[in-house]
């Protein structure tokens, strides 16, 4: 007789664990219980179901319990909620939500895969009709029905994270007027400010209103239906409100069992997915991760990570050779209309918080050769440790191919690469696929130039904050300058720089500005030759400058 494994939870990690365990050890008896109606569904696809990009609900559901049983030999009981665990008896008390009946399942090994739930802030009016989180298939279906009935003219999305933004896009594409309210100073909270603002400006250009640094106080309604979102700044009309302020690990059952939680509130597991209790494992969104760079506990509730955790737990449950997951980078990516935004490793903000002294580069480049039709600009921000030159993180945004550079850099970080290693990668090149010097290599080159002191840069944020005290020279052509430049900048096109250098104050801190940073670098070298010492270039040029122009 094989071992008896009971899995609580049946979305990504739970089903993955169960299936892998059963494949490793076909004699094992594996049972899965879930309080949900659906199993193994594509939670990340819900925004697209709302917008009709994904037509039918069944497309979201990867497998039905019957399919799963047929394929794996594993019984899945849906609408079965685990309500208690007796560790001594190795028994789980399960409530059949259809009948109300209490059932008992015994186990040799228990797997907790209870996932995460949307955090709904305790504000007045959150129980009104038309207010939804977006976590389950049922949430998405209810929202879509309202949208398809034409009952929604104005929607407010509370929270500018990935899900909120994706829902905003999908609602906007349905012709609904959408506003996003975000508590922190920019959308995409995990990104650094200048990168997030680039995406934010793009969303605004598409016609989505965005209010940042703004707190939602309450929701008001008429006849039980939501009508207004009241913030600390204004009232916004809404007949649909999406609550997407974030998720929290479902740790209730784990707490009752007495499993140790980590500092993030998720269940603490070691690299084998073992919890603090013998014979109890935890996987997926309810469990904690380790950040591969800092070695510190972190929480990345991502489908990609959940599946990996499930595989590791499945292997280890089979009690053969052990496998482990040392940590993850928190790599993420999102599509917003035609804009893509990806991130891996630490942001500059996180890196500094973790105690690193960092150097960064902000570099616009093309995803393909500039003469190949259909190329798009992407902006790379690269973050390295000044002392070791090891890559700590990157963010890439733009309409072009973003997943490739992010994945290259995620791979590089995983293998401990330094910026010099990144510069020399032999990457696939032909005009339809990349530039001869790919955007990633270019970013590494710029970073390397900064580390070696070949050039000094100023980022967009410092530029905006200190514009008044700096001598700012825009070296672009007159036409480009005319359209918009940094407030206070004067125009000296690079071709006239030698001739007109005497117009400048050598003793003043000077910033050179161009379109993407390259001509500013060339101008920098010219002025350096002429004896200027306090020089810097605006990193990323005007193309990556997300603030007001004049």
């Amino acid at each position: 007789m094989g071992r008896k494994v009971l899995v609580i939870g049946a979305v990504a990690a739970g089903t993955k664990t169960a299936a892998k365990m059963k494949r490793e050890n076909p004699k094992a008896e594996v049972v899965v219980v879930t309080k949900d109606e659906y199993i193994s569904y594509a939670g990340c696809g819900l925004p697209y179901y709302i917008g009709g990009v994904i037509e039918e609900k069944k497309e979201l559901v990867v497998k039905t319990p019957e399919d799963f049983k047929l394929l794996t030999g594993i019984d899945v009981f849906t609408k079965h909620e685990a309500v208690g665990v007796d560790k001594a008896l190795k028994r789980v008390d399960v409530k059949d939500l259809s009948t109300g009946e209490m059932k008992h399942y015994t186990y040799d090994d228990l797997v907790i895969a209870t996932g995460a739930s949307p955090f709904v802030p305790p504000i007045e009016g959150r129980d009104l009709k038309g207010v939804f989180p977006v976590r389950t298939v049922n949430d998405a279906q209810a929202i879509r029905e309202l949208v398809d009935q034409g009952a929604v003219k104005k929607a407010v999305v509370i929270g500018g994270g990935f899900i909120g933004l994706e829902v905003a896009e999908n609602l906007h594409e349905k012709g609904i007027e959408v506003a996003i309210v975000e508590l922190v100073p920019h959308i995409l909270p995990p990104f650094d400010e200048e990168m997030a603002l680039y995406a934010q400006n793009y969303m605004v250009d598409q016609g989505v209103r965005i209010y940042t640094s703004e707190k939602v106080l309450s929701l008001t309604g008429e006849a039980d239906n939501v009508r207004k979102v009241i913030t600390d700044q204004r009232e916004i009309e809404a007949d649909l409100v999406i609550m997407s302020v974030g998720v929290r690990p479902n740790n209730q059952l784990a707490k009752e069992i007495g499993l140790a939680l980590g500092p993030t509130g998720a269940i603490r597991v070691n690299e084998y997915m073992e919890t603090s209790e013998k014979n109890i494992y935890a996987v997926g969104d309810c469990a904690e991760n380790v950040n591969l760079i800092t070695g510190q506990p972190a929480w990345y509730p991502m489908g990609s990570t959940a599946n990996k955790m499930g595989r590791i737990a499945g292997i280890n449950l089979a009690k053969g050779e052990k496998d482990s997951l040392k940590g993850v980078l928190g790599t993420t990516i999102v599509k917003l209309f035609k804009l893509n935004a990806g991130k891996t490793g630490l942001s500059e903000r996180d890196a500094v918080k973790a105690g690193f002294e960092v150097e960064t580069a902000l570099v616009p480049a093309n995803d393909r050769a500039h003469y190949y039709p259909g190329y798009r600009e992407i902006i790379t921000k690269l973050i390295v440790d000044k002392a070791s030159h090891k890559i700590l993180g990157a963010q890439v945004v733009g309409e072009g191919v973003v997943d490739k550079p992010i994945d290259i850099i995620a791979t590089a970080i995983t293998f401990g690469a330094k910026v010099e290693d990144l510069e020399k990668l032999d990457l696939a090149y032909a005009p339809p696929f990349s530039m001869a010097m790919s955007s990633t290599i270019l970013a590494a080159n710029v970073l390397s130039n900064k580390l070696t002191g070949r050039v000094k840069g100023i980022g967009p944020i410092e530029m905006r904050n200190r514009a008044k005290e700096l001598q700012i020279i825009d070296v672009r052509d007159e036409g480009s300058f005319m359209i918009g430049t940094i407030p206070g900048a004067v125009n000296i096109p690079s071709g006239e720089l030698y001739m007109r250098a005497e117009e400048l104050d050598k003793n003043k801190e000077t910033v050179l500005v161009c379109k993407i940073g390259k001509n500013a670098y060339l101008a920098y070298l010219k002025l350096k030759e002429l004896g200027f010492e306090q020089l810097r270039i605006l990193e990323g040029g005007m193309n990556a400058y997300p603030f007001e122009r004049e």
Partner: protein
């Protein structure tokens, strides 16, 4: 009144705006500048530029691989 055709495809930095700017300087009132561009920033730039200079943007076609604009010299 002439039609002036500019092929600015592949131009990035200095970008197509510089070419349009030059052409507009040389053109006379009533001339139409037709420009083809691949630099995506151009759609925003040309609108802003026309606003500043007072030339009229007669047409702006934002295709997937090419942007086309017609500008009336005022």
């Amino acid at each position: 009144m002439a039609d002036i055709h500019l092929n600015c495809k592949g131009l990035q930095c200095p970008g197509p705006i510089m070419q349009v700017f030059k052409a507009a300087k040389e053109a006379v009132v009533g001339d139409v500048i037709h420009v083809k561009v691949t630099d995506r920033g151009f759609t925003k730039d040309i609108q802003a530029w026309c606003k500043k200079t007072g030339h009229e943007l007669l047409e702006l076609v934002d295709g997937d691989t090419e942007i086309q604009a017609k500008i009336l010299r005022k």
